[in-house]
């Protein structure tokens, strides 16, 4: 059929143009991302620790709780986030979920040298808190107290939440934005203003510590490709050389949780798209079929 040939020509040129401006152009523009190594959160550059003893680790962790809380073990954070930021520039995260999100080998290396493991020049977490064996014991302990299953948001809170806000989920670096009520007569909401002030104080310190305020990650899944994000989190230096964001050391499972959270917040319509799409397309298939019958009946005997 002649018309199908014409259609084939149109489709051909359309696809060539599409290929050129999308896959091809992006592969050229994002060469650095495409070429960046990805080792599936193996951290091959770090030394594998000796076998750790959780019981010994439990004793050693006493050195950590002057800064960190471990809520699941009944240890509250010694300072609130704003005070902690005054002291360190960033809040030391609660360690209850550390073993569930981070890679064990990474934790052991991190305790010995946060800058070496995190690939940054300076870190608010002091190095040399334990020797290699002690660090392995602490890592084993943190692993042993980690809950089996944690929610995607908990994984995010622990690994990223101290630096990154997610305003579409009302997450701030110092925690969830509380529900407050404005005074009816005046519209003044002091509790809200208090909270905002605290966030502001925290962010100023955080920006001082890192050189800039880390971006809000609300819709980062639409702004960066899946490949970019996983490679960036595995090793920020591979993508943004000299960046102040440390290698966080998440495990593969930990990363999947974090990504799931970011996707739920940043692309909330995904399940609905998948549910509605087939119906709309099915409708137009039926529409076209009926239109085809109409067309054939109208054009009968014309040629």
């Amino acid at each position: 059929m002649k018309e199908l040939k014409v259609l084939a020509v149109v489709v051909f040129f359309t696809l060539v143009t599409y290929w050129g401006v999308e896959p091809y152009a992006h592969s050229v523009m994002h060469k650095n991302v495409e070429e960046a190594k990805f080792e599936n959160f193996q951290y091959k550059d770090l030394k594998a620790p000796a076998k750790g003893d959780p019981a010994k680790g439990k004793a050693l962790v006493a050195a950590c709780v002057s800064c960190h809380g471990i809520k699941s073990q009944g240890m509250k954070a010694p300072m609130d986030p704003v005070a902690a930021a005054q002291a360190y520039g960033v809040v030391p995260p609660d360690l209850s979920n550390a073993g569930a999100v981070l890679d064990e080998k990474f934790i052991a290396n991190f305790i010995v040298s946060p800058t070496h493991a995190g690939l940054v020049k300076k870190s608010a977490m002091p190095g040399g808190m334990a020797d290699a064996q002690g660090a392995a014991d602490i890592a084993a302990y943190l692993k042993s107290i980690a809950p089996k299953e944690i929610k995607p948001k908990e994984a995010f809170e622990f690994a990223c939440g101290r630096c990154h806000a997610v305003r579409y989920d009302k997450w701030t670096q110092i925690g969830q934005t509380p529900k407050t009520k404005a005074d009816i007569k005046t519209g003044v909401d002091l509790a809200k203003m208090d909270f905002e002030k605290k966030v502001g104080q925290y962010q100023l310190k955080l920006a001082g510590y890192l050189g800039k305020l880390p971006p809000d990650l609300s819709i980062i899944v639409r702004a960066r490709s899946e490949e970019y994000l996983k490679k960036f989190v595995e090793n920020p230096q591979h993508i943004l050389h000299g960046t102040a964001m440390p290698r966080v050391g998440v495990s593969k499972e930990g990363y999947e949780k974090i990504y799931k959270y970011l996707e739920e917040v940043g692309d909330p319509s995904k399940p609905k798209r998948e549910a509605v799409g087939p119906w709309v397309i099915g409708y137009f298939v039926l529409f076209s079929f009926l239109a085809y019958l109409w067309y054939k009946s109208q054009w009968k005997g014309l040629k």
């Binding site: 040129f13 091809y24 137009f284 085809y292």
Partner: protein, 410 residues
């Protein structure tokens, strides 16, 4: 004196006919609007465009209910309120974004169909010119719409494009600031582009669509062979029941049935993109909020502007602007630069055949080169393609002047 039948029931057929001449209207606009039989689905692209404009208008109205034209709130009103909080807001946004991109694909197909079959000559000059005005208005509509989410690309593309108005070495900073309403894109800028996008440009486009349809009425659409048809005579044949012999068919219902079928197929394709492949129409960079302190590593316009952007880029500042200006207006001149009287498919027109395919391929090359970073081999290819574009248009009058009459034409 008009005659009004006092006994006609209000809103009955006769009552309406007396007042609105609905029978005549229907005849003139549809059942006796004659279309050549000898055309293919490419002649349905006009209707596809009209339908896509309808989709843009309706989805746009829904978006407008929640969009906030304020530099501090615009980004979140789109990306949070519409995409996450309003029921099916995401659907309207994806429909709007995808339609805005696809409409240009169809416009280009529609234009190249016109070029291929010579549908801009012999009485059809005004169809072409009104079409080009539509193209320019759609470009302005698309560009102004792109500013609204106030993302990184909105901001920086707005910066780069308004900078062009400094006109190179003339250095008219005053003009640039006058357009922006500020030294850099800001609230005044967003407010202006908002107005253009939701009021002025849609009004202009609607008026131009009416004009475009009007220019079609007397010359009628062209056909696959460029044959000059005596529409009155052929229409008589049709009315006499000679459906086979008549070279024409009425728009309604005969051609409309085919238009409808093509529309159905088109909407399958369109909604496939809306649900499963919308990323190409919504640039990732624009999901970072506008940040005046951080220039994105690559600034590029949407794909449909890339070819003219690439004509600007490889040259030094002033010649680049001249070349860019050339690219913007040259398509308007097509009916006058084509000096051949032949109205026939390009493939039967000797050298013009090569001109057509060269132009098409060259514009695709320019489009791709407009997106990749200007370095090394890409700069070379881009420069060659830009020169090719200019030279092709300079050659056109000479090629067509020398063209031999095609069989069947005087």
């Amino acid at each position: 004196m008009a005659h009004f039948d006092p006994n006609a029931r209000p809103f009955s057929h006769q009552w309406l006919n007396d007042r609105l001449a609905i029978d005549t209207l229907k005849r003139v606009l549809s059942t006796e609007y004659w279309i050549p039989k000898n055309i293919n689905f490419l002649w349905a692209m006009g209707m596809v465009l009209a339908a896509t404009f309808g989709v843009l208008l309706i989805s746009g109205i829904f978006l407008l209910m929640y969009y906030i034209p304020d530099t501090k709130q615009a980004f979140d009103s789109v990306n949070h309120t519409i995409m996450g909080e309003v029921g099916y807001g995401w659907l309207w946004r994806h429909m709007h974004g995808v339609a805005a991109s696809v409409v240009f694909l169809i416009i280009y197909i529609h234009m190249f169909t016109g070029i291929y079959y010579g549908s801009y000559k012999r009485g059809r000059e005004l169809i072409w010119l009104s079409g080009m005005l539509l193209f320019v208005s759609f470009s302005a509509e698309a560009f102004s719409g792109y500013m609204l989410p106030w993302g990184q690309m909105s901001y920086w593309a707005g910066m780069v494009i308004t900078n062009l108005f400094s006109l190179g070495s003339l250095d008219l900073q005053g003009l640039v600031e006058w357009i922006r309403g500020d030294y850099v894109p800001g609230q005044a800028f967003l407010g202006r582009f908002f107005m253009l996008h939701v009021v002025l440009m849609p009004l202009i486009i609607m008026a131009l669509i009416v004009l475009h349809f009007g220019t079609l009425r007397i010359p009628h659409v062209n056909n696959k062979d460029g044959e000059e048809i005596d529409f009155e005579a052929e229409a008589e044949k049709w009315k006499a029941g000679k459906r086979k012999e008549a070279k024409v068919i009425p728009f309604n219902p005969v051609f409309l049935s085919k238009d409808t079928f093509v529309l159905g197929i088109y909407f399958i394709f369109y909604f496939y993109l809306v649900f499963y492949h919308f990323e190409f129409a919504m640039d990732p960079v624009n999901f970072d909020p506008a940040n005046p302190l951080k220039t994105p590593p690559h600034i590029y316009p949407e794909w449909y502007f890339l070819w003219s952007y690439e004509i600007l880029r490889p040259f030094p500042k002033n010649p680049g602007l001249v070349a860019f200006g050339f690219a913007q207006v040259i398509f308007f001149l097509l009916p006058f630069l084509d000096r051949s009287p032949n109205v026939a498919p390009a493939n039967r027109r000797g050298v013009f055949k090569f001109w057509f395919w060269f132009l098409l391929v060259d514009m695709i090359v320019l489009t791709v080169m407009g997106k990749v970073p200007p370095m090394g081999i890409y700069t070379t290819i881009g420069t060659v393609a830009a020169w090719t574009f200019i030279i092709l248009w300079i050659l056109l009058p000479f090629i067509t002047k020398a063209e031999k009459p095609v069989r069947g034409h005087k």
